[in-house]
Amino acid sequence: MLKNRIIPCLDVDKGRVVKGVNFVDLIDAGDPVEQARLYDAEGADELCFLDITASHEDRETIFDVVARTAEECFMPLTVGGGVRTVDDIRKLLLAGADKVAINTAAVNNPEFVREAALKFGSQCIVVAIDAKRTGPGKFEVFTHGGRRETGIDAIDWAKRMAEYGAGEILLTSMDRDGTKQGFDIELTKAVADAVTIPVIASGGVGTLDHLVDGVKSGHASAVLAASIFHFGTYRISEAKEYMAKAGIPMRIGERGGK
């Protein structure tokens, strides 16, 4: 039986983790590779790096981070943030990423998703959707970290991206992101039920029950969380066991590491 996945996400700026775990066993808490190793050892099902580096000249740092992670962690790695061209994707994959998340570039040019899926295969193309509630049961796609509206309906957009060859949707509720109030279940369920590809729920996780809700009520295939793991509120292994006890099929007791 296929298991639901927990995906810890790390925000990386100029090659450094912005908000990181502060466990004593880390030699360098700002090193994304150290954090990745920790999550791997804890049995994370995948890893996600979100590159938030603003300046173009510093953007090369992510390739080194990805390459060093791929040396140590033999698990799926998704990289998002600033993926705009076929060449960006190629460089990330060659560095050792398995999937790339495309967000703004998809909105600016939907054909880019089609082109990327044809070239590299749907399995490595994740379309990231940042959605905001604009009315009862209405959700709109936003870009630029939720600052720019697009006028595009989030559910229609998810369907279109699946049609264009996206292999997975990473769905973030901009209303819930950072609030610790839980996923926007209505949004998650609406998108997950509308597409045949897997949906990763993101934005708003504050408790382990929120993870359970994302799968049970939101119908997500995977749940992504950042701060509850970053700050050591919960360990990945603890979260997985909690979800399993709630009746969700999880991969328990298998770890990464060498």
Binding site: L2, F74, C124, G167, T196, P198, E254, G256
Partner: protein, 213 residues
Amino acid sequence: MDVVIIDYESGNLRSAAKAFEHAVDELGGGSVLVTSDPARLADASHIVLPGVGAFADCKAGLAGISGMIDALNEQVIARGKPFLGICVGMQLMASWGREHGDTEGLGWIPGEVVAITPNDPSLKIPHMGWNALEFEPGIHPLLDSIDPGSHAYFVHSYGFRADDAAHVLARVDYGGPVTAVIGRNNLVGTQFHPEKSQRVGLHVIANFLKWRP
């Protein structure tokens, strides 16, 4: 041991190379070469064919390298070198692929590659994530000291339907059985990605490298 991973521009070979390098080091050393040069297959002790994307594209990519399919047939079929196909690299061993039209495979293991059709409509396609391997303990050295029920990482929408059930070494359940590991003589293939399957995956790679078919 000298592992050759065939590069025919299908996806990311760095993580596969890293995982094999790790396994080779653990087993006492050797080389891991990623190459698109058919001549290099002659020096290989083990040959690995990865692959992501569509069957037809992968077959075209492989056929597009002059002499590669001949070199594979010579080294793998005629000389019997241990061969591991991963994901679409495993599917290519079939007689036929039915993705995006009908495409002839390498024809090494009789069968065809068809869309997976879970009997539960709520199950997503692609089949993506960690699924539990089902197999008879002791069925094949590739799965030595791996417990049935261990998880491996899958991402695919098509699966290998073998003509002879004896060639299916392990399955997973995804609204019905899906072939996870296939094998015949010196040939093995995994639908999952051992290079992405943490310790279980590294174990499969090490088993492959230790295997003397």
